[in-house]
Amino acid sequence: MSTPGDNGSGETARGDVLLEMKGLRLEGRVDEAWTEIVHGVDLTLHRGEVLGLIGESGAGKSTIGLAALGYARDGCRITGGQIFFDGIDLAAAPESVRRRLRGSRIAYVAQSAAAAFNPAHRLIDQCTEAPVRHGLMSYREAADAAQDLYGRLHLPEPRTIGFRYPHQVSGGQLQRAMVAMAMAAKPDLIIFDEPTTALDVTTQIEVMAAIKEIVEQFDTAAIYVTHDLAVVAQMADRIMVMRDGNLVEEGLTRALLDHPDEEYTRALIAVRQLRKEAEAPIAGQTPILQVEHVTAAYGDVPVLHDISFEVPRKRTVAIVGESGSGKSTAARVITGLLPPVSGRICYDGTELPANYRKRSRDQLRRIQMINQMPDTALNPKHHVRDVIGRPLSFYLGQQGTEKEERIRELLALIELEPDQYIDRLTTELSGGQKQRICIARALAADPDLIICDEVTSALDQLVGEGILRLLIRLQDEFGLSYMFITHDLATVRAIADEVVVMKDGEIVESGAKNEIFQPPHHEYTELLLSSVPEMDPDWLDRLLAKRGDEFRDRGI
């Protein structure tokens, strides 16, 4: 309704808003039918502003992030609403217009840099591609600009790192190189789609710090998509909380964190608050599991160096470390999948055969494992009844009604309605439900010890918390012992009695949870502990100031 007369005030306001979405609707294809997955969302982004989009999986946050590029993923389509980028309606504009904008004025940083980089080309060639293709710079200029960006992002050897191939740099470095690639054409807007989710906590900090700094330096507007409220609190000026394709709540970061209006937002903020009182081992009892001086290797590559620890009865030992620390390998040695080079595994005081093939059925039954990815841990062609029923008939010889009743009992135990779930295929379950079925399968064997390998890391935070509560309850009820492998210290706080900190295949520190979390810490434990993001928006700035020059100098 604008007339030439009110141009004056209208113009300044228009110039200020970079991206505006009005009543955005998207549909996704599910089972050969189009279903609406984003139900009319409004979004406004000003120049130089960082907007956090937060929600659990299925909230539509990534879909909205991509819609800011005028793009809908395969199997998705934009069905309604407008997307104005600097006055251009991306939803209505022809593909050629959108393509000119992408990479030059709007850029995208994907979750997994390892999957987004082409492994056959050097970093610098990929970083210069967008500005050269769009005719904004010559290759020489673009390469110089890229080297400048590498320096600003604190990549080591900024002048030469571009000549490496993607597999020749670490995960955190690659993610920063991807930020450099997005920044190459000096865009007005960058979409960050979970850029740190796949990284270790210590690496996450580097990437977060680099992103925050460079976005401020170039005054770039950004949309930061993540499921982790503590991360977005560090990055964003304003936060939009999404759920099931609807906006739950929107507000300035500090205001939203301090005074959330909605119950759902409160739940997200409180998610890492779960605590369990650590209990000391029962005196005078043989530990259920003893790992003694274990050294293990994959072929010629050594992975574990002289590892020793114990799991006391009815207690939880958390094995903490970053990726590559050997914590999952320890689980493979204990289960017998990877016989150690030297050392031994004792169960209930007696030594176990190193290879699982040589263990008796009863020995196998007593140690059960729950895997990280519930999607691959369950056979997609099996029904819930078969999955839980097999250990019952295999180990305990149960058949017929006895078995059927036990399956229903176990389903009730993991808080899934038996009548509703017993006949389902495993593919007809959500991620959290699948993990519960895995727990039921482990319980069905009536074990003493359950090894949990990152059981919550593939799940949404609220769902993961439900799994942790369930595991704690089951431990109390059945006197189970857990060996809990995780990289997440919030999970350790929630569930552990004792903690073993691992790094590069060695145990750095171990002891009761309260000791480990109380200063003085070992240097590495300190690094891990301080790297866990907190809800406080000033946390990252404070931490960086504290680490200060040390962090810069190391140039990691």
Binding site: R29, E32, D74, G75, T335, G336, L337, Y356, R359, R361, L364, M369, N371, M373, T376, A377, L378, N379, P380, K381, H382, R390, P391, F394, Y395, R441, A445
Partner: protein, 281 residues
């Protein structure tokens, strides 16, 4: 409750089948009926000489007569029984052999995989038609020999596919879970692996059937397959080939039958793949 649901699902699947699939299914059905009830369906006998040699299409004999005056329509119908029946048996043999060895290689790995794979490599290194000709010349041309030779040669392709998809499934966590539970090799193959590789294998079965069928036709054409006077589509093309030079279209009838069945089977396989894989999106 359950069977009714399955029935409904099946009906829905058939209702939504594309015209190409319907065409394929119809042709296969006709061939099956013709093959099964050949003596009833065919107007004349398989080897009966009923008229003058080299009559053209469309006269008293629908598809004309061959070089010695047998009814081509009747021989095509009897040929369906011989060619398709033998091809089917051969494909099943090839499949059983390839499936078992392929899965063993995928699950056992190491030396078993090395041994089986190298044998298969050697078999695949020699062009299969030449290899078959060689063996059949040495052993003599009987139907049993032919079936066995083709089955072994074609099973190498099935082995390759089974081993590849089997290995993809074999590294998934649920197979490891089953191993750690203490399950035996056979149980793991049957319950954990087979259901997950059934789709590509079923598609492969359709395609492999076509290749076997063409292989038999090719061997018959070269004179080493099914021997006269037994009716067989491949040898019919060969025996009548000279009639082409007299301007007669009749040799094209058995050739068209081969082409039609091959295309039809492929239509159905495509539709099946589309149904069961993620190709829908």
């Amino acid at each position: 409750m359950k069977p009714i649901q399955t029935l409904r699902k099946t009906r829905k699947v058939f209702r939504t089948a594309p015209p190409t699939a319907w065409f394929g299914m119809t042709v296969i059905l006709i061939v099956l009926i013709a093959g099964l009830f050949a003596p009833i369906v065919a107007p004349y006998g398989e080897t009966e000489i009923v008229g003058a040699p080299g009559l053209t299409i469309g006269g008293h004999f629908l598809f004309g007569t061959d070089q010695i005056g047998r009814d081509i329509l009747s021989r095509v119908i009897f040929g369906a029984r011989n060619t398709v029946g033998i091809a089917f048996i051969t494909t099943i043999l090839a499949f059983s052999l390839g499936l078992v060895t392929g899965l063993l290689a995928a699950v056992l790995g190491r030396w078993a995989d090395q041994l089986l794979s190298r044998i298969v490599d050697i078999l695949m290194a020699i062009p299969s038609l030449i290899f078959a000709l060689l063996i059949l010349t040495m052993t003599g041309t009987s139907i049993v020999n032919m079936v066995l030779v083709i089955a072994v040669l074609e099973s190498t392709r099935v082995y390759r596919l089974t081993r590849a998809v089997g290995m993809n499934v074999g590294v998934l966590d649920f197979v490891e879970v089953a191993k750690l539970r203490g399950e035996g090799l056979w149980w793991i193959i049957r319950h954990e692996m087979l259901p997950n590789i059934a789709t590509p294998l079923a598609a492969e079965f359709g395609l492999r059937f076509c290749f076997v069928f063409l292989f038999i036709s090719a061997l018959s054409f070269l004179g080493l397959g099914i021997q006269p006077p037994t009716a067989d589509w491949g040898s019919m093309v060969r025996e009548n080939a000279t009639l082409i030079s007299f301007g007669l279209p009749t040799p094209l009838v058995p050739a068209a039958a081969i082409a039609l069945l091959t295309v039809s089977v492929n239509f159905v396989v495509d539709w099946f793949l589309y149904q069961t894989s993620g190709l829908k999106d």
